[in-house]
């Protein structure tokens, strides 16, 4: 059971910045009111960040040259179809893992 001190600091930092938005409304609810434009901006964050993270998973950076990891891109296709079809997190993850395993086995 080893815990790296740097990792522990990162986890604690992440915990603090996660807890702040979670508890602030519970402490200040009578006073807090975010501007409408900020609320709207926040509403677009999840879709944009998930897209960015998916793209990041199939881009391979080598200095200023980038290439595409075709295996990952190929596995994303069935995963996307299952996600749209079933709207289930667990099924999507399972099919994604199986697709990736199948692609690596075949090629």
């Amino acid at each position: 059971m080893n815990v790296n001190l740097t990792i522990l600091f990162i986890i604690m930092g992440c915990a603090i910045v996660t807890i702040i938005p979670r508890i602030t409304p519970f402490i200040l609810i009578r006073n807090i009111k975010l501007p409408k434009i900020i609320i709207k901006w926040l509403s677009f964050i999840p879709v944009c960040i998930f897209t960015a993270l998916i793209v990041d998973s199939f881009i391979v950076q080598e200095g200023s040259i980038i290439s595409i990891d075709w295996f990952v891109l190929a596995a994303i296709l069935p995963t996307l179809i299952v996600a749209i079809w079933t709207k289930s997190l667990s099924l999507t993850v399972i099919v994604g893992i199986l697709s990736m395993a199948a692609i690596r086995l075949l090629f």
Binding site: N4, I19, F26, K40, W41, F50, Q61, T79, A101
Partner: protein
């Protein structure tokens, strides 16, 4: 979440009832928790580190992101800033639920806030929307059940992930990306048809910016800037 709305007596709204109301969400917690544990282990975190991460951060998507950033050796500042941005949406969830609990002490309210997740928010806000009575005991039953299940699932996932020494041939490293695909689709699922076009155009913009920016800067900065530009375009285009 129970489908039918029936009048509930105040004395029936107990900690145990909160536990029972959490059960339908547990399949989600357990499967995602195990996946998060496997991803943590395959990102070279120890079982203890995965357990601490799940106990302290307790947020599915950002735990995946933290693991991805740790694996790509991102600077600490970038990891914490990204986590802050990803989890900032909790403010919206808390703002929705907090008015129900203003009669309780600050300490209790901090407890409700720390343990609020998308799923417990979903259960609690459905009760509130249906005008069903809920109280502090019920909320704690709901929150604590979800929290304990999450930590145990993450730990089991990490043990499982360590047991398989090389996750790549099994495709387990892809669980992270698969998770993001599912979360993206679930986000789109709740949008009105008229808004879907806007969201699809934002996805195209973010893909283009990610490809261009990845040639110019490290990926963790490209992720942040692409996301910020995407959300800003969303605000400008959404009239």
């Amino acid at each position: 979440m129970s489908g039918q709305v029936k009048p509930i007596k105040e004395k029936d709204v107990t900690f145990i009832q909160g536990v029972k109301d959490c059960i339908p969400t547990l399949i989600g917690y357990i499967s995602i928790g195990i996946a998060a544990g496997v991803v943590g282990a395959s990102s070279n975190l120890s079982i203890a580190e995965v357990t601490i991460l799940s106990a302290l951060v307790y947020a599915g998507a950002s735990q995946f992101i933290i693991c991805a950033l740790l694996a790509s050796a991102s600077p600490i500042s970038a990891i914490i800033l990204t986590t802050f941005i990803v989890n900032f949406r909790h403010l919206l969830l808390s703002m929705t639920v907090a008015p129900t609990f203003t009669i309780y002490s600050s300490i209790k309210n901090i407890g409700f806030g720390i343990l609020l997740t998308d799923e417990t928010f979903g259960v609690a806000s459905t009760k509130i929307a249906n005008r069903q009575y809920i109280n502090d005991k019920w909320m704690n039953g709901l929150n604590v059940t979800a929290y304990v299940s999450w930590i145990i699932s993450c730990m089991l996932g990490a043990i499982f992930g360590k047991w398989i020494s090389n996750p790549e041939p099994f495709g387990l490293d892809f669980s992270l990306t698969a998770m993001f695909v599912a979360l993206l689709i679930l986000q789109l699922q709740h949008q009105k048809h008229s808004k879907l076009k806007l969201y699809l155009s934002l996805i195209v913009y973010v893909v283009l910016f990610m490809i261009i920016l990845s040639m110019l800067m490290p990926s963790y900065i490209a992720i942040l800037i692409s996301t910020i530009i995407g959300a800003t375009i969303g605000v400008i285009q959404d009239k």
